[in-house]
Symmetry: none
Subunit: 237 residues, 2 copies
């Protein structure tokens, strides 16, 4: 029946759900295929990139159908996606730093803060909406720890001591993804009713920003790691 639900001209949110779902799927295929071609030490990273965009693709197909039928997109789907994909992005940092001595503790630390960030953010956005400011602040602590790790903390220090300019460059770009790309999510949070930016950004605008941001954050993130894998004259097979 969802095929009867027609995309209306100017329904940019519906549009970006369609484009996003297909872009995520195509990227997943891309990362899977390239995984078979890069040097062994990069295969895990590309596999995880494929899982991240693959999970997102499945969610986007679901969300796009939901949108086509109901012209709305429940927040829960976003958090369902994030709780799986954001920790996997943290795993990516561990994987690219492992050849330079990253310990599993770095991975668990980042995963912990990402789960902290998402669980408390979800509580503030839905269950305890009237105290959303406090929960948002608690959530931001997790975001800040992750950003700190990548910009100045353990993760960055490993990259700096690696003496590999490609790795350092990738870490710098990924740092910007976290600082700028990820910032759209707390901004969207502040745009909810009762939030600091409430009324400034209409809810539909946020869905549009999320759809574009998700594609950049997930596909772009994977492409940075792919570039790293094929840099320094590492030949593809």
């Amino acid at each position: 029946p969802f095929l009867l639900a027609q995309l209306q001209p100017g329904d940019y949110v519906g549009f970006t759900f369609f484009i996003g779902s297909m872009a995520m799927l195509a990227s997943t295929v891309f990362f899977f295929v390239q995984m078979t071609r890069v040097e062994g030490k990069w295969k895990d990273s590309l596999l995880v990139s494929a899982l991240i965009t693959g999970i997102a693709a499945a969610h986007y197909f679901y969300m796009r159908s939901f949108w086509a039928e109901n012209q709305t997109s429940p927040t829960e789907f976003r958090y369902i996606d994030w709780i799986l994909t954001v920790p996997l992005m943290c795993v990516e940092f561990y994987l690219i730093l492992k050849p330079y001595g990253a310990k599993q503790s770095l991975m668990w630390r980042m995963i912990f803060w990402s789960v902290w960030m998402l669980v408390t953010g979800y509580l503030g956005e839905t269950v305890f909406r009237s105290q959303s400011a406090i929960w948002g602040a608690i959530s931001t602590v997790g975001y800040a720890f992750i950003a700190y790790d990548v910009w100045f903390g353990g993760a960055r220090k490993l990259a700096n001591s690696s003496a590999d300019p490609n790795l350092q460059n990738a870490m710098r770009i990924l740092g910007w993804f976290i600082f700028v790309g990820w910032a759209i999510y707390p901004i969207g949070y502040m745009a909810i009713e009762g939030g600091l930016l409430s009324g400034v950004l209409p809810v539909k605008a946020m869905d549009l920003i999320y759809n574009i941001g998700d594609a950049v954050n997930k596909i772009g993130f994977g492409l940075v790691i792919y570039s790293l894998a094929i840099s320094s004259n590492q030949k593809l097979q």
Copy 2:
């Protein structure tokens, strides 16, 4: 329910939706398999060819169901497809010219103009329909820059300086794809209500032309690159 919607004899648009979807799918399988057999430097190009026809296949399956149910095909689906596949075709130019010194800036320049062309074209076709002529002209600027690049600009110059007759031949054919094959889309645009060719071409005729044109432009484009990859006695594995 869409299986209950039957193709009528003489429903050429419905016909070509079915044929197109299967042709795109078969080509995708072909490009994926041949990708594993061509020399390393061509693998990326064949992978991208497979992604282009694969994305189109997914969209064609969707559009054919939509057509079977509703006897119409919203413009939005075409643009959703183009916004992903046309930039990927621009990536193809970069990939085949990379062994001859193409820089990433060539790729980003072409992607930029393709997105420019499609976004402004969409706005003129739907949201600002009453000013479709102006938006069409703005869109054509992007088309012209891409065509110029391939016929006379940076892309062509790299091919000329490559001293590889196979590459030069492929570039010439791809140039014709852009000049003639792609020209059906702006012609279709002019056939919309209020356009320069309005009334000359009925809307159903345009769907038919798009369906045939898409197959030629996407599968043909990929086949040109495949021929290039197996030319000059490069042995398949």
